[in-house]
């Protein structure tokens, strides 16, 4: 297996053993980018090779001096392009920000700099993180590495596809309603959305502030634990940041005997045949490992998607108001200031973003606030209560991540809400602020990966990591790699 296809924990051990150098890893990742970028895509900005190699060189010097900083020191990674990087343009995949170069770093990026990670590039995404197929990118494209005719999922499609195709060893994405888990599921990798407040949001360009959470996309749950140890940190620049003691990688263990897993059978029933079969098989696997299945019946499945779109659009309409061309970003001048606003925003935002802004503006308008926004907040409370009640009965909740596997790119949906309704399993974790993971649990008959979602109670990241770890010890879905076209000779490790 080539270096670029290996998981982080393994590369890290090899760096410690000095059997490889950080430069070799970086070189192989760069090579893979050369092979895969034209077909898979996944990046908006790729850093200069010289810069990447210098960063790897510094790791090698630290290793030589016996001063490696962390397990991600020397590991090439990608950042979703909604995380501010000082001196490196940060676009949110929007025309409005195509020239925006931040003068400050997102706190998560600071943490990865301090840990010694090697930033390769800024990953593609749906514009302002709105979408579930990565087809709303205004500046780049991303396809599924398992079949480049198919979508990678979104909105962290670039973060997912680059990792799945070996163009990065791990990446950070952001998840507002499933934007880490959904593309992870489509691309056959492991995605993790931490508890709301666990990872600092400072410098992450907001979509919906009360739902957004940054998390890792990796090839193995052990990698997830390693990355979480670096990014789950209190930040005094984020008022919603929590103080949590973490030692996920060290505390990882596969003893999950006696764990109670809650399953709402109606969610499993709602999926396509292949997905249903894979998820049912996974449930059997957990039973074999000594877990108990607890039947759940959520009464919020119908209202959940509506509540999610109302709350997220309302917050987005306000969060995105600042993109008015006044102090940064692209400006389209008009006759007067109102014209300039109209010209800039009409030109700069894509159709999906405009739709959400209009929807959000509507639900917050006087006369409609009570009927929509306030009602959605009440639903949110109900969903939280439902999960509180569920966690009295079980230790985590299992469901499919998506209704179906990755579909053909460019497939026109009859109505935008059809796309919205496809996100039926993931937003509940955001609404309730809970940690949730998507891990590979099989392949459909057409060869596309299937994902399994695990939702834990607040701050019970370790429980989810252990469940996923135990599962990955017993299965090999996460070890499969897509075949890269244009791949040259196989390197032996």
């Amino acid at each position: 297996m080539r270096l670029c296809d290996m998981p982080l924990y393994q590369l890290s051990a090899m760096l410690d053993e000095k059997s490889i150098s950080a430069k070799e890893i970086a070189q192989d990742v760069m090579k893979r980018i050369g092979e895969a970028n034209a077909t898979v895509g996944g990046y908006i900005t790729i850093l200069d090779e010289k810069e990447i190699m210098e960063s790897a060189q510094k790791t090698d010097e630290r290793i030589a001096a016996g001063a490696r900083r962390s397990k991600i020191d020397g590991i090439p990674y990608a950042l979703k392009d909604n995380m501010c990087t000082k001196g490196i343009r940060t676009t949110c995949s929007s025309k409005l920000l195509e020239n925006f170069v931040p003068v400050y770093n997102a706190t998560v990026y600071e943490h990865l700099i301090n840990a010694g990670g090697v930033l390769v590039g800024k990953a593609d995404m749906d514009e302002f993180a709105m979408g579930s197929a990565n087809e709303n990118s205004a500046l780049s494209f991303t396809r599924n590495p398992w079949d480049t005719k198919k979508v990678a999922g979104g909105s962290s499609g670039g973060s997912s596809a680059t990792v799945a195709s070996g163009q990065a060893v791990f990446s950070l994405g952001s998840d507002t309603g499933g934007s880490i888990r959904l593309p992870a599921s489509f691309c056959g990798i492991t995605g993790f959305k931490p508890t709301y407040s666990a990872v600092p949001r400072y410098g992450v360009i907001a979509f919906a502030s009360s739902l957004d959470q940054v998390g890792p996309l990796t090839k193995d749950i052990r990698d997830t634990a390693i990355v979480l140890d670096e990014i789950v940190k209190y930040d005094d620049k984020d008022s919603t940041s929590a103080k949590i003691a973490t030692n996920y990688a060290q505390n990882l263990n596969n003893n999950i005997k006696g764990m109670r897993i809650g399953v709402d059978a109606s969610l499993v029933e709602a999926t396509d045949e292949d997905t249903k079969a894979a998820v049912l098989t996974a449930i059997e696997k957990f039973k074999e490992m000594g877990c108990k299945i607890v039947d759940l019946s959520f009464n919020h499945n119908e209202i959940m998607v509506a509540a999610y779109y109302i709350i997220s659009s309302a917050e987005a309409s306000s969060n995105l108001a600042r993109f008015d061309g006044m102090t940064y970003g692209v400006r389209r001048e008009g006759e007067n200031v109102i014209d300039t606003y109209v010209n800039t925003r009409s030109w700069g935002f894509g159709p999906e973003v405009k739709r959400r802004i209009m929807m959000g503006t509507f639900v917050l308008s006087s006369g409609y606030y009570d009927a929509y926004y306030k009602k959605a907040l009440q639903d949110r409370t109900l969903i939280k209560h439902n999960f509180d009640a569920a966690f009295e009965l079980c230790d985590c909740v299992l469901s499919p991540t998506t209704i179906f596997t990755a579909y053909d790119a460019g497939k026109k949906l009859e109505h935008p809400t059809d796309a919205y309704m496809s996100d039926v399993f993931t937003p509940m974790a955001n609404i309730a602020g809970l940690p949730a993971a998507s891990i590979p649990c099989g392949f459909a008959k057409n060869g596309m990966p299937i994902g399994l979602q695990l939702i834990g109670n607040s701050y019970q990241e370790q429980t989810l990591l252990n469940m996923a770890y135990a599962y990955q010890q017993e299965t090999d879905f996460h070890l499969q790699r897509p075949k890269m076209t244009g791949e040259g000779e196989k390197d032996e490790v």
């Binding site: 919603t240 600042r322 102090t327």
Partner: protein
């Protein structure tokens, strides 16, 4: 038919915290444009607000000073609208759960005491400032995210005079509470006036208009007077008052309509998800209360009871926080409250009034004034000389010591020197000496006068009197 005016005020006061309300930038006034800024107050993508704890302490202090109820649970909301001075395109403010509610303030106006209800006080951020130049409009974001409190009154005022007295009393309270410097020339205190008229005796309110952004007491008075006249003449012509937002144009002394109710903004207030609700414990509120600076009412009581000042003196001193602070500073070096009050209220006030100056513009410090009073007390100079020295201090800003020595004013208290002069005077005026010795008590007055003349008034008359008597009785 006669009409009465009904006025409610919204007063914006900038808090005097060191840093802005949601970031660490300095609040210093007068910096180069766009130098006191950071990603947060520039509304850069991804930047997040963090509430300044000091600002919360200050608004609670203001609320307590204005007899408000302090909320244990409060939250920040977003007020959404587009304007180039508002970098996030929303202002973080408070909608339905302000920090302070239900207060009041007693004021003296039109010869009576009035109680003005205070509906609420909420915390919000200021916007930047547009600067219009021949080359186009520029924005200075130094003011963006400066901490503001908005004090909303009930429609309890019935004359422009009452509104002005209320505004002045609010200013005084905020200064005493040390929460705002209230510098009106720097825009740290601004008023919006809600004005309506109704026939005397009517219980219902007329349609109100709102005059925005009045930045001085004079403007407040003029704008309300103008608006009252305008509304009355409209009613008398049978026209309907429209609910409008207005602006006072200072150069033309006229009111200009900004917008009417129909095109009022829908601000789409909703809770700011970037900021957590603020929970103020009773312990926190009590702590702020216990650390409250003394308020004017309290001070007045203390002045009367402990310092034995007259009601009038106590009132004058506490109606003006700068004067009061000056007075108390004088007392630190000169602990004679009654004498000091007299000098501050009478002599100093006379000088200030003559030249239309404010206490904070005085060219000398309170400790100089204290030094002057010490010199009088010790007999180094007479009270009459003191008044002259004070006038000089006022003119030149020089210290009393400097003035006294430069003018050779110091009273001669060296007894040996005085005795020598007294001997000469006695020797040169045998007739008066004889008169005195013959029982004409009044003759001593002439002799004292002669000694004073010889010393050019620098002798202490009392000492001279004593020396002469001793010598004459020998």
């Amino acid at each position: 038919m006669k009409y009465e005016v009904v006025i409610g005020l919204e007063i914006h006061a900038e808090l005097s915290t060191q840093s802005k309300v949601f970031c660490g930038c300095s609040t210093a006034f007068g910096a180069e444009p766009n130098t006191n800024v950071c990603p947060v107050c520039l509304g850069m993508p991804g930047a997040l607000p963090v509430l300044n704890k000091k600002a919360v302490e200050y608004i609670v202090r203001a609320g307590l000073a204005l007899n408000c109820e302090i909320a244990n649970y409060s939250k920040m909301d977003r007020k959404n609208y587009f304007y180039p001075d508002l970098p996030k395109a929303y202002q973080i403010s408070q909608f339905d759960l302000p920090f302070c509610k239900g207060g009041y303030l007693n004021i003296q106006a039109d010869g009576k005491e009035h109680t003005v209800g205070i509906t609420r006080i909420h915390l919000e951020e200021d916007a930047g400032k547009l600067v219009h130049t021949p080359g186009g409009t520029l924005v200075d974001y130094n003011r963006s995210s400066m901490p503001l409190i908005e004090i909303v009154s009930e429609p309890d005022m019935r004359s422009a005079k009452q509104a002005v007295e209320y505004a002045k009393a609010i200013r005084n309270i905020l200064l005493f509470a040390k929460v705002s410097n209230c510098k009106m020339q720097e825009g740290a205190l601004r008023f919006d006036a809600n004005v309506s008229v109704r026939p005397f005796g009517s219980k219902s309110y007329g349609t109100r208009t709102e005059i925005k952004n009045l930045s001085s007491f004079k403007m407040l008075q003029k704008a309300i007077d103008y608006e009252y006249q305008r509304q009355v003449s409209m009613i008398e012509k049978g026209e309907k008052i429209r609910q409008q937002t207005l602006r006072w144009n200072e150069s033309s002394n006229r009111i200009i309509a900004l917008r009417s109710k129909e095109d009022a903004h829908d601000y789409r207030y909703f809770p700011d998800p970037d900021l957590l609700p603020v929970i103020l414990s009773d312990a926190f509120i009590e702590d702020v209360r216990s650390k409250m600076p003394q308020m004017p009412e309290e001070k007045k009581k203390m002045y009367i009871e402990q310092f034995q000042l007259s009601e009038y003196d106590a009132e004058v001193l506490t109606a003006n926080s700068e004067l009061c602070a000056f007075y108390e500073e004088v007392l630190q070096d000169y602990n004679e409250p009654k004498i000091a009050a007299n000098w501050v209220n009478v002599e100093l006030m006379a000088l200030l009034n003559q030249s239309d100056m404010l206490v904070e513009e005085l060219p000398f410090a309170a400790c100089d004034m204290a030094q002057l009073l010490q010199n009088i007390q010790s007999g180094k100079i007479s009270g009459k000389m003191g008044k002259g020295v004070l006038a000089d201090m006022f003119e030149t800003g020089k210290s009393p010591e400097e003035i006294i020595s430069a003018k050779g004013l110091s009273q001669i208290s060296d007894t040996a020197e005085l005795e020598k002069i007294a001997d000469e005077v006695l020797a040169n005026n045998p007739a008066s000496v004889a008169d005195y010795r013959a029982g004409k008590e009044k003759a001593i007055g002439f002799l004292v006068g002669q000694v004073m003349k010889a010393t050019k008034g620098a002798a202490n008359p009392q000492s001279v009197n004593e020396i002469l008597r001793t010598k004459l009785n020998e």
